[in-house]
Amino acid sequence: MERNNHLRRQVANLRQSLFDQGYLDDQFIELEELQDDANPNFVEEIVTLFYKDSARLIHSIDQALEKQPLDFTKLDNYMHQFKGSSSSIGAKKVKIECTQFSEYWRAGNVEGCKRTFQQLKREYVVLRKKLEVYFQSARQAGPTETMSCRPN
């Protein structure tokens, strides 16, 4: 249907813009490639899982940053874990903030870390919204072709 095609095009554009604007990187494509008939909504499931789980982590990091004195080991672990999972879904900007955070961390710049973390949270929220829109459109357009970037 036209409408459907139109929708699909929209979804494709949405998707492309996410890459173009640097919100997503190749890892997202990896996830898309994992999606198949047996797991048709794999990417969305993963992203949902990520946001659910990382909310807890973000909260822990927030708390840890407020504590005096800072628990270095814990923070380090949290951050590594957060970086690991956000990079696994291809959240590019979020990952960049994580890296920045690590640099400040290594330099012992606590203020820098805190600032970066605030920035990180913003990126994290922005990406979530964008992905929600994307997934919703994809669902509307029809499951089969929208998400994959595979040349079919």
Partner: protein, 678 residues
């Protein structure tokens, strides 16, 4: 490579599922059984999907402890493990060590952390690979190569092991510890030995798999003495395997056997030389802070400290020395200042001092290892650990506990030792597969130190118990039994437990504790290590039993061949002594194996027990122990924590040195300090 094919020769079936039985060949690596461990659910889910897409069989797990128990329950259920580094319940590297020691599976680490030092830690801990997150499917597609490589390596090791005597058929099981001198000699050896041990064990079970089993060379006390004499005759620098072999003139012994044994011996000597310095420190610091140490250590290895603590408390009895030794190790933290001085007196080992230094160093290391224990589901654990954790008091308490609940304490100690021994055990003793993995842990303090220390600790504790209660002695015998029974339990611990005697020492301790009551001295039933412990305990020198036991225990699993596991330099040596005793799978009482049998006479440790298996040994041990404890036994026992392998060795040597005659009795004679050309 088509290792998968069933036709692959020598693929050690123990570790992989692709045994001859499996029809993997054609589709390899399809069906590769992977265990993924990551506390992050997102990554875990992604990895699972990726691995499934690679047609692997995936099991996911979000906690390291669960992973370990899964692995333990199903020893051959997995081919490879992928684990995250930063996990809340257990450090990924610890898990790596555990797996290496116990199951000898290839482990791949992964993390978002790509800093060099972390990657380096992966390498030193023996990880087969290190993946940086985000992980791509391409990286996972090739993980099968690690499994294949490992199998091949193991197979080869086995084959080389006794190049002369072995037939190809049965090598695999005998992973030649000797052959694998790579990385830290110990590591390789341990791994090999451990692997071998396991494989051997398995091979035994599976007749078809290892058709020809090469007789493993057991470095009995006598044999070792001959070896040492030959080395001394030639001069440590000039001692080459060929010449040593000629001098020894032992039929059936190959140059390779000697070569690997020599290597271990050299490492042992090196370790000993490093020990002397610390002793003094240890003594002082030790007494001062049992608590401190305890605390410090406890954080690390609660267990270690405890062992030490326990040890510390027993000073009066002679445990002091042991403790000192053990504490010495922990002393690195300095807390355990077991009155080394005092203890030393007891032991009259000058070595004890040495031991401590090492212990200390190792202690730290061992500490690390001890932590591993946490992950290990030991039977005893919760209580015992708890009891152990009490600082200073715990020492005392421990002693008491030890006495009263020797079982528990022992178990604790054992546990403690376990982690350590693992390292150690793996190295030498066990040929088991796991040994190889330990590279890192072993290296560190000889990571095995942990074991030795632990072992010692155990022994110490055991001794304490024995000393005080002397039940242990009988228990030793019972220990032996324990080991047997416990084997199963210990299995998880594997390394210490027993598969190798060496491991057993630690394990045995545990077992002993448990079974103290049993006093069934079954003698080495299968746990050669038990003997080892006792033996070791008895022998002040042999204290290294931690090492020894470790070494031996690993193999042991009743294999007399424990000695074969020369891989572990010091430990193995020890083991050999011990394992030889065990080997026989059971009652090897042969003292040769266990130098430690303090047959009552230090100087002459002649293994009176030779024949009688543990029981007799146990008895002797009792007698000896009583005497010995004050000396070395305790030290050795307490060292467990500290001991990395080095410590054990040193302690061992010390004991030997002090004991003097040690040579005769246990194979370790060679190591007596006084004999050391070092």
């Amino acid at each position: 490579m088509n290792i998968g094919s069933g036709s692959l020769v020598g693929v050690p079936s123990s570790t992989s599922s692709w045994k001859s039985g499996d029809v993997v060949s054609d589709q390899f690596p399809v069906g590769l059984r992977v265990l993924v461990v990551d506390d992050d659910p997102t990554c875990l889910r992604i990895l699972e999907k990726m691995l499934r897409n690679c047609h692997y069989e995936v099991t996911k797990c979000n906690r390291a402890e669960i992973a370990l128990s899964l692995l333990r329950e199903n020893k051959n259920g997995f081919d490879i493990v992928i684990s995250d580094v930063h996990m809340p319940d257990m450090d990924g590297f610890k898990l790596l060590e555990h797996i290496g020691l116990e199951m000898d599976l290839p482990v791949i680490m992964m993390s978002a952390d790509d800093s060099k030092d972390v990657v380096m830690r992966g390498v030193t801990h023996g990880a087969y690979d290190y993946l940086i997150k985000p992980v791509r499917i391409e990286a996972l597609k090739n993980i099968w190569q690690h499994v294949v490589r490992k199998k091949k390596h193991d197979w080869k090791d086995n084959n080389f092991d006794q190049s002369g005597s072995m037939e190809e058929g049965d090598r695999q099981q005998k992973l030649s510890e000797d052959v694998d001198y790579s990385s830290s000699a110990n590591e390789g050896n341990w791994k090999n030995s451990k692997k071998r041990k396991e494989e051997e064990d398995e091979a035994d079970e599976r007749d078809d798999t290892s058709t020809l089993k090469k007789p493993r060379v057991v470095w009995s006390v006598e044999l070792h003495q001959q070896f040492v004499q030959a080395v001394h005759q030639l001069g440590i620098d000039k001692a080459v395997p060929k010449k040593i072999l000629e001098l020894m003139n032992v039929p059936g012994l190959t140059r390779e056997n000697v070569a690997s044994h020599l290597q271990k011996y050299r490492l042992y000597l090196r370790r000993l030389s490093g020990v002397s310095q610390h002793q003094n420190e240890l003594n002082n610091s030790f007494m001062g802070r049992p608590d401190a140490t305890f605390g410090a250590i406890s954080s690390l290895n609660g267990l270690d400290l405890q062992a030490i603590a326990a040890a510390g408390q027993i000073p009066a009895q002679s445990l002091a020395t042991l403790q000192a030794a053990a504490l010495g190790r922990s002393a690195t933290k300095s807390a355990i200042s077991m009155p080394l001085g005092d203890q030393r007196n007891l032991f009259s080992f000058e070595n004890s001092k040495l031991r401590f230094p090492e212990g200390q160093q190792q202690l730290n290391n061992s500490n690390k290892q001890i932590d591993l224990l946490h992950g290990i589901p030991t039977n005893m654990e919760p209580k015992q650990l708890a009891s152990l954790h009490h600082p200073s008091q715990s020492f005392v308490g421990m002693n008491m506990q030890v006495n009263s609940t020797t079982q528990h304490n022992n178990s604790l100690l054992m546990r403690m030792s376990q982690p350590q021994p693992r390292a150690q055990m793996l190295n030498g003793a066990n040929n088991g597969s796991q040994v190889s993995r330990l590279p890192l842990s072993m290296q560190q303090s000889l990571s095995s130190e942990g074991i030795p220390g632990a072992v010692l600790a155990q022994s110490g504790i055991v001794d304490n118990v024995r000393g005080t209660v002397y039940n242990p002695v009988s228990q030793a015998s019972s220990m032996v039994d324990f080991s047997v029974d416990q084997r199963q339990e210990l299995q998880s611990y594997n390394f210490s437990l027993g598969s190798n005697s060496s491991g057993m020492s630690t394990l045995t301790n545990r077992r002993m504790l448990h079974e103290e009551v049993n006093s069934d001295m079954k003698g080495s039933r299968g746990f050669p290590s038990n003997y080892d412990i006792f033996n070791e305990l008895h022998q002040p020198k042999s204290q290294n039993w931690g090492l020894q036991n470790v070494g031996s225990t690993f193999d042991s699993s009743h294999h007399p061949s424990i000695q074969g596991t020369q891989g572990v330099s010091s430990q193995l040596l020890l083991q050999q002594g011990i394992s030889s005793t065990h080997n026989s799978g059971q009652n090897r009482n042969d003292p040769s194996g266990k130098p430690m049998y303090s047959n009552g006479e230090e100087s002459g440790h002649s293994n009176p027990m030779g024949g009688p298996q543990l029981n007799s040994v146990g008895r002797n041990m009792l007698a000896v122990k009583a005497e010995r404890f004050p000396d070395a036994d305790y030290q050795s026992t307490f060292f467990p924590e500290q001991f990395g392998q080095d410590d054990l060795m040193s302690t061992f040597l010390k004991q030997q040195g002090s004991v003097g005659p040690v040579e005769t009795e246990f194979g370790f004679d060679g190591y007596t300090l006084d004999n050391l050309p070092v």
